[in-house]
Symmetry: C2
Subunit: 569 residues, 2 copies
Amino acid sequence: MAPATVTIANGATWQDVAADRQRYRDTTISEVHPPVPELSLEERPLNTTAIPKKFLTEEEIEVTGTDVEELVKKIASGEWTSTAVATAFLRRAGLAQKLANCITELLPKKALTRAAELDQYLATYKKPIGPLHGVPISVKEHMGFKGEDANAGFVGWVGQVPEEDSLILQYLWNSGAVFYARTTQPQTLMHLETSSNLYGATVNPHNTTLTAGGSSGGEGALVALRGSILGIGSDIGGSIRSPAANNGVFGYKPTCLRLPSDGWAVAMHGAESILGTTGPLSTSLEGLRLFSKVIVDQKPWLRQPSLTAMDWKSSAEFFPDRKLRVGVIYSDNVVRPHPPILRALTELVAKLKQSSNIEVVDWNPWKHDLAWSIIASLYFADGGADVKAAIASSGEPWLPLSKFILLDNPHVKEHTIASLWEAVSAREEYRTKYAQLWNETARSSPEGRPIDVILCPTGFGVAPKLETSRYWGYTSQWNLLDYPAIVFPVADRVDAPEREKPFEYPEDYKPIGEEDKYVYDLWRQNGAEGYKDAPISLQLVGRRNHDEQLFKAMQILLEEAGLPAAVPA
Amino acid sequence: MAPATVTIANGATWQDVAADRQRYRDTTISEVHPPVPELSLEERPLNTTAIPKKFLTEEEIEVTGTDVEELVKKIASGEWTSTAVATAFLRRAGLAQKLANCITELLPKKALTRAAELDQYLATYKKPIGPLHGVPISVKEHMGFKGEDANAGFVGWVGQVPEEDSLILQYLWNSGAVFYARTTQPQTLMHLETSSNLYGATVNPHNTTLTAGGSSGGEGALVALRGSILGIGSDIGGSIRSPAANNGVFGYKPTCLRLPSDGWAVAMHGAESILGTTGPLSTSLEGLRLFSKVIVDQKPWLRQPSLTAMDWKSSAEFFPDRKLRVGVIYSDNVVRPHPPILRALTELVAKLKQSSNIEVVDWNPWKHDLAWSIIASLYFADGGADVKAAIASSGEPWLPLSKFILLDNPHVKEHTIASLWEAVSAREEYRTKYAQLWNETARSSPEGRPIDVILCPTGFGVAPKLETSRYWGYTSQWNLLDYPAIVFPVADRVDAPEREKPFEYPEDYKPIGEEDKYVYDLWRQNGAEGYKDAPISLQLVGRRNHDEQLFKAMQILLEEAGLPAAVPA
């Protein structure tokens, strides 16, 4: 397929461009064989997660039901071919599009050509080409892809076609990955949902009245439907963690500059006061780890010099013979989480307290409102000029959540160099203070050890209703601090309202402030029934550049709590 | 001693403030016992390096003639007390002030109190308090020092007194260091010399008509006179390396964010497009390494979160059984180095080519003029407003090299946020290109290995005449790239003019451009005689965050070339 020719530069309207992009997407799906079945409306209930299995072969169900760490073995041993695997995921991803609107295009020709080459390689050399031999990886659209559109959610950018793959794709390719699907993202990339004028809204497969989250919401929904078991997202305020949490899958926001970001299509190129990071979403914890290790093992800092030259450490070396110390945040004191989150957190902590391998301590969140004011003043240091120009370039309308984060955000201002430096100094002061508080937790430990990780909500609730994801604090907090974080499902979901009773807001609840009132009102309006079937997820946070320790802590925590380290197929 | 009370805020003129600072300095020197001898003018020849020995006791000469790695053993074993060591360095530093004008104040009371405590500790516990037990460390003035002035070279800032030590001092203190001397720096901290309206010019002990370099020129001169064997400098464009080279001592500019910088007094707080770094100057290579390791071993990233959480690696693991590949830059193609530098480089390379452990390859410098234009456009992103305000606050005059780097610098502009982002993008593009070229050197290696380090000049010549240090490219290049670098003396100096003959400019030399013409004219005016006795030094550069590899490479290079790893006492 050639890239789009219907563009603003060619004189088309934004509606024309969007329509053409959707046609193009549908065409790529129609090229999958055997064909992706059409779905009637009746075949799309509120909870769509069980649908794909009705339309796939038994082998396809088994293949797409396998997590990364098992899949690599099956392919390396020759039990499954890369071609069969790619075909299964292409078909399931095609179905996912029809259920959740999460795909910008499939890449059947490229994927199957690649898969055939990998099969040939294995046949010839009797060994895999690399540690991800044959693993299909889905990719958020704005990761530059050679010869394919890179619009980053802006209609006016349609027609930008990179001359080479973004760096992270190159490393994954070297490891044997098969790229087969590209996924949706919101206008500006700065929503915790996924809605654009190009593709409309991506919805949550567990409950289609809810958002898939964002900005990597295409990935989140696709992985939830197992149209992917490993996908690439990016995160500057929650964009990996929100969709991972909303869709009940695993997501990992690394410390910035561990994984390559060269070759992204983004606005505000050169901004560095707050960095975004690439990171994986997966059906398994091990999928996240393997993804990261495979890339870091290739020493990406030798090609993207801004990256930290730090090898991926074996997790085995951490906490070998001592208790894990876990700090817990129930509320950030700005917005009280909805009852299902408080319930999950409370139940999990109760389990952890039973463990002889874990010590739980409370963590008192220090001025998370200040943290938000700092990061929000740094997101658009040019006052949003670059983003405004990108939207204006096509005449496309501003979407509500773009307005929310930029136009209606009281912290956004056009900085001078002097005021930028002031804001950066405030950022560093905040980071230093938080580190000091972390260090001081050693005082409550007989061995003088500070906490290892923080356990906390990923958002104010489970997946919000569309257009209501208007509080970022539970994720952006860790972007400001540049702390790595893993989102994990607690294998539970919102169902019977009476389960939430013990964690309901008190009758006479007085909201803490405006943001809390908004969130409180959402719960009053929707209640447990409004969020039915939404998965419940939590977040585990480590110190900056302590990513490998975080993975080990996550593994211990899941084991001790009796939670699965993978999403059931 | 109480901090200064004569300040601009108190209504004094800049001249009053400067005079008071000098009186204060002299008072602190006068408090050393036994007293620091007065020197007559006749006792200050052009080359002053032999003078201190005439005025010190034999024991003092031996103590101050000992390098860090030996000194720690002598103190730990009880052979020398910390008190005796501190006294010897206080006296020699006092002499150094009279010879090179390198001191802003001595700290006899604090140092001797500390030394007595350390002696007591050793007597009580029979072990040193830390790996630097009793080691006197000199400190560039702008490293915040609790209870002492922190003026960063601006008259208007005199009277600023930090409430706590800068972070690096805290880590060194924890390791057993004794702080006894604070050293000069230039107005703005942005000269490759050391001249301020507070203290005048620091001169080169080897030839007092030459500059000590800068901005850590106080350290450079003090270490050259062995008034210190280990000092703390800082470097954003050459400020550690220029004084190390000019004074013939060892200097190390780490990759940024390996060593703490919290607590510096500097203009443009919050600027991060080009970072400066703390780093050591020493009489020995091992002094540099020990300094760095001792700090990094304390995990400073837990307190200054911007630092890279990377342990100090043992050098033993690098290049164990293969040749070191060294790229060589003779000229950066912008400014041809003066004959002594070309001679030293040529002679050293000839020796290295004899070694079976080293492979030498040419490195073609890629657009170092572009590199300068990028870094120079980022040094003062506010167009210099903050620095201008700091100078204006006292009415002190602009010094020539302040004008040179800011007012007369064609690359300085007041950035908007958009133009700042453009310049940052240009910086990253340049870094990426340079990394790519480095990677491509693997093509000329049978084993497919790129070069390990680059060997190059540290400046256009040996120590320049005062006020002529007007080309930064040989050092600022590695700040733009954030590559670590070690400066080392080649155990040679400028002496007989005929030695330089083979490396003289050709009769019909056509300067490459304006900067080259300026440098060429300097040589024509001064010749070898003008630079008599100036030490010759070179620079070894590693890849970003490959600091430990660089140390190992430096060690191999010195061994193979038969050069000493320490300055003769």
